[in-house]
Assembly symmetry: C2
Amino acid sequence: MANPNAKGDRRERELVTALDEAGFAVMRAPASGSATERELPDVLAGDGETFYAIEAKSSAGDPIYLSGEEIEALVYFARNFGAKPRVGVRFDREEWYFFHPGDLYETDGGNYRVKKETALAEGTDFAEFTGESRKVTLEEISVRSEADNKREILEAVKRGDLSVDEALEMF
Amino acid sequence: MANPNAKGDRRERELVTALDEAGFAVMRAPASGSATERELPDVLAGDGETFYAIEAKSSAGDPIYLSGEEIEALVYFARNFGAKPRVGVRFDREEWYFFHPGDLYETDGGNYRVKKETALAEGTDFAEFTGESRKVTLEEISVRSEADNKREILEAVKRGDLSVDEALEMF
């Protein structure tokens, strides 16, 4: 859902710019006129191997709340599109921190809450977030046990770091 | 680039709705305020395995023209995001037809031109465009040869249709 306030809008633009500078191609959702009635995530970002659908929330207050509907729409869109769903939170005078929706605290009312102290302690910071897509080298794979080895190969295929043909040769 | 006229806007919404109904998660570019100075494609669509960046042009006239800058921006964004670049053209009283940018006729001035007769004869129609991606079911996987079987499993992992743990059990 587009952030209705000017400061939130500016924060979201800053996030888009930062993702762009980190090497992602980024599209923000339009403020209105999405054509379908589906809720869109705020940001879609891809770098050729990792795709993120991001719900971005900034606030002067603490904690930051997200509605159950926002999270459901994020997860639904991400799954259908083929992107990883992430919630980005930004408290004043702090950086952006990112969470998988499944790691958020769910309130009794079915909404979601992120405390500032939780974000700083447990959130993925921007550098880690944009650096998450790291190629596994063949050397790293080869020193593992056979089961770990298979798992690494499958995960590399999942990420797109290994082609199916490359993986088939390794099995 | 967002289509500045109301009819073009309506056509583009119709395209988004049709893609949504065909099983894609779709985001339209905002009309303005993209945060970065990069030109965005009109539409991003994904169905969990195929990602399209689409420049959509509708016209009452024939032919439809696209500027060299539009095509360059489309190809640049698509490559960075990790999507397939496509140009969608829609002439009045016709369906949408899709082209890879490399298949468009380039004019002497460095722009691109699609004649209606070319679109109808050589363009990919909507059904073909959206039918390219088909999910493989587990039943279909099980009747294949072992090598094909492994390949199908790896491809399902790549698409995210199988988790790494599910795939490990199958190997």
